[in-house]
Symmetry: C2
Amino acid sequence: MKAQIYVTLKKTVLDPQGATIARALQSMGHPEIAGVRQGKFFEIEIAEGTPKEALSAGLNRIAEDVLANPVIEEYRVEILD
Amino acid sequence: MKAQIYVTLKKTVLDPQGATIARALQSMGHPEIAGVRQGKFFEIEIAEGTPKEALSAGLNRIAEDVLANPVIEEYRVEILD
């Protein structure tokens, strides 16, 4: 089983890195790019035999405590089969 | 319109950062985590009135030339409405 955790800056937090990428792309001849925000994601391999019920709570705790900074970032957890 | 580009290390490339995260999580009481691979993603805001036909080719070129290093990374482009 696999899970994915996506971490992005909150909409209200400035993303200067994304803004720089957007400007660079525009100057490279991609006027269709209006904005870029960068995030990170984690592909997580889940050990065999893990009960699916407890998994979601555990992954949310991992995202909240370790992978994201909840002050400025938000996260999304997806469990794949 | 929005698009997302996901960039990950190729399966054959070692991801020491992901391995470190996995070990840390296991030692923090998450034995269900068998492995972690880290990637990045880009949320792209597309300018109004961009024709959808040309968009996919343009985004693939951006991913290939700018956002990913095709020697060690692979990417996936998703166009959302």
